[in-house]
């Protein structure tokens, strides 16, 4: 408030701030962004929202917090059934405990809002295959009795995380390599460009399929494999941007005042050459999600039983008559990708250089 009072007659805003305000003004993109960001944030709390483990167990005066422990990495959240006097093999079945203790005991259980986890199948007592949507299973169960709703949300978190990490690693690699090529030019550029040409001619989809059939891919291995080829297209943008920006007079001015290369790269050229890659960012995330879905659908993606939209789509299509199994992943994916595309549209609009160009 006080800051606003100081410059009542004129408030200068940086280009980035201006772009942010413009983006905020584009309601469709902005609301998609807020919604998606909130959902993604919430999805890290999934173990306490959608889980078959209890939030709190009070058993003979002692308190246990299995679901909350699961949130924290490295904490053991496993309690065998015998611990709570339950006659089941392996882990305790908290839903049953809740029913058992409904009357006649001082023990009690508080379950998460949606008391199913994405991994439990028909081996857990009470689960059935191909159950239609009901109040118990909001989106039914799949071919192994797993809850579709729970899997959908866990897959949301995994998909977005995968795409974001993939895009981030790609960007770091692509921007630094492309930028170096553009800035140093000459031989560096010549040789790097040839290596990139050779590298980019590898049929990457087949490489991934072959590698996936030899070693079982994990989350980070998949990111690693896909990064190997995906950073390349960014170098094209960055190289050209650096070539263009470094010839501009403000860079010459920085050199003529004796500025160091490092400062010239990071302070002068880089911020001015990021526009095309930032505009592309949301679409790159879309690409990452689609790619993971595609690989999972083909069976070369994340190892089962990881919840994934591609795998859900695969089993759904094998059982088309069970509409909830096809419908759920398709709609989830559609909405997510649509929201990201809206964000991308907003970002592109906000970064549109036309807004700032003026007649000379």
């Amino acid at each position: 408030m006080s800051k606003q009072k100081q410059n009542t007659e004129h408030v200068s805003i940086s280009i980035n701030r201006r772009r942010w305000l413009k983006f905020k003004g584009l309601k469709r993109g902005y609301y998609s962004f807020v919604t998606l960001l909130t959902l993604y944030g919430i999805s890290f709390l999934l173990p306490v929202l959608i889980n078959s483990k209890a939030l709190v167990v009070q058993y003979e005066g002692e308190y246990f917090f299995p679901a909350i422990l699961e949130l924290m990495p490295g904490m053991a959240s496993y309690y065998p059934g015998q611990q709570f006097g339950q006659d089941v093999p392996g882990e305790a079945n908290y839903r049953h405990l809740q029913k058992e203790w409904e009357s006649g005991t001082d023990n009690w259980v508080i379950m998460p809002v949606y008391p199913y986890n994405p991994y439990e199948d028909i081996t857990t007592e009470g689960n059935k295959m191909y159950e239609a949507p009901s109040r118990k299973h909001w989106l039914g169960t799949d071919n192994t009795g797993r809850d579709v709703f729970a899997r959908l949300f866990y897959a949301f978190n995994i998909s977005i995380s995968f795409a974001l990490i993939l895009t981030f690693v790609n960007y770091v690699l692509g921007i630094s390599i492309g930028g170096a090529m553009g800035f140093f030019g000459g031989k560096v550029d010549l040789f790097a460009q040839r290596i990139i040409e050779i590298w980019s001619s590898l049929p990457m989809l087949f490489v991934i399929i072959i590698m996936s059939s030899i070693i079982r891919p994990s989350f980070f291995l998949l990111i690693f494999i896909y990064t190997m080829v995906n950073w390349i297209f960014l170098t094209y943008y960055m190289r050209a941007e650096f070539y263009r920006e470094k010839a501009k007079d403000y860079v010459s001015a920085a050199i003529s005042m004796g500025q160091r290369n490092r400062t010239i790269i990071f302070k002068h050229i880089l911020p001015n050459s990021l526009v095309p890659v930032i505009t592309y960012f949301p679409f790159s995330v879309v690409g990452g999600i689609s790619m993971l879905v595609g690989l999972d659908y083909l069976g070369f993606g994340l190892p089962p039983p990881t919840p994934s939209w591609g795998q859900m789509l695969d089993v759904g299509l094998q059982n088309v008559s069970k509409w909830w199994m096809v419908f759920s992943p398709v709609v989830a994916q559609f909405l997510t990708l649509l929201a990201i595309v809206f964000i991308g549209e907003g970002v592109r609009e906000a970064f549109d250089p036309k807004v700032y160009s003026r007649l000379r």
């Binding site: 280009i15 010459s252 050199i255 003529s256």
Partner: protein, 335 residues
């Protein structure tokens, strides 16, 4: 006591090799600057004129040693001797690392005020940058210096926290001037500083530069193609054609009594707002400027020169002092 000039340029050559073919071998050279010599004295404004593509800007950029950045394989030959106090430094020989120490002594004002300011930095950040590099001022002192400089160039303290896109072309050029002045340099190279501005603003900026030159005791190399502007601001004028100096002398003398046929032709093209002179003879040169890749032998102007003779093709004419301090490179006029 005769003072040393700020800079002595001796036989400066700037050649850009052209690569071609499969293995990128050198197939030719653009002789952008082909052996020019002149000097700029203390507190002197030297105007460098010539038509587009004659190498004016290249001279300026070579003198401030920033050509390697965009064209790493450029070949620079000759001497660019700066006299900073007792030290004499040859900018043509120093590596970019060695030259950094002396950067504060020579600064540049650029032609396009829209491209010469980083759009992401505020005016105060832009002017502060050289101060951070070359002085030990504290943040408060720097702030004061910036505001001081802004007022010197006709802007106000409130402008310090604005971004370049909030200014007009003339105001941006003033910011560029303030940045060049920040390190208190000995020489400022002005690369067509007013040609991107409209006429009314041009006059303001030129008057500002003349005031500043007196106040800061700085020398200017004023590169331009507008002759009347150069005559107004300069003490001396150097006329360039296709990488060579044709004439170099006191401004009034070169402007009103040019000796070289090229200067004569160039000056006859300057419009004079005087109806009585409407019958003035205008010399129209035939043909186009030859390419700097394949220059004519001898005098580079001989292919278009109205008075050329056979001997012009024999050897490259050197500047000769015809009148005191008035140098002309023409074998015909010299006789």
């Amino acid at each position: 006591m005769s003072q040393k000039p700020v800079v002595d340029v001796k036989n400066l050559k700037v050649h850009f090799p052209i690569h071609g073919g499969v293995i990128s071998k050198k197939v030719g050279t653009v002789k952008a600057v082909d052996g020019i010599s002149f000097s700029i004295g203390r507190r002197e404004i030297v105007g460098l004129v010539g038509e587009s593509g004659c190498g004016k800007t290249t001279v300026g950029r070579a003198m401030i040693n920033i050509l390697h950045h965009v064209a790493p394989d450029v070949e620079i030959d000759g001497e660019i001797l700066y006299h900073f106090g007792d030290e004499t430094v040859d900018f043509a020989k120093l590596t970019s690392r060695e030259v950094r120490k002396y950067r504060s002594r020579v600064q540049m004002i650029f032609q396009d005020p829209y491209a010469s300011l980083n759009p992401r930095m505020t005016v105060s950040q832009i002017i502060e940058e050289p101060l951070k590099l070359h002085t030990n001022q504290t943040e408060n002192e720097r702030r004061n210096t910036v505001i001081n400089l802004l007022e010197k160039v006709g802007l106000q303290a409130v402008h310090a926290d604005r971004f370049p896109h909030e200014f007009s072309g003339g105001q941006r050029q003033r910011v560029g001037i303030a940045r060049a002045l920040a390190t208190n340099p000995d020489l400022i190279i002005c690369d067509e500083p007013v040609s991107a501005l409209d006429v009314s603003i041009q006059a303001q900026v030129i008057n500002l530069m003349m005031d500043i030159q007196k106040e800061f005791d700085v020398s200017f190399l004023f590169i331009a193609h507008d002759l009347s502007v150069v005559e107004h601001i300069s003490d001396k004028i150097a006329v360039m054609y296709l990488g060579n100096l044709m004439e170099f002398g006191p401004a009034k003398q070169v402007y009103h009594h040019p000796k070289h046929p090229y200067s004569t032709a160039l000056l006859s093209a300057v419009p004079i707002p005087d109806p009585e002179q409407k019958n003035r003879q205008r010399i129209v040169l035939e043909g186009d400027v030859p390419t700097p890749i394949n220059k004519p032998s001898g005098c580079s102007f001989r292919t278009r020169c109205p008075v050329a003779e056979d001997k012009c093709a024999e050897s490259i004419p050197h500047l000769k002092e015809l009148d005191p301090n008035h140098w002309v490179a023409c074998p015909i006029v010299a006789d």
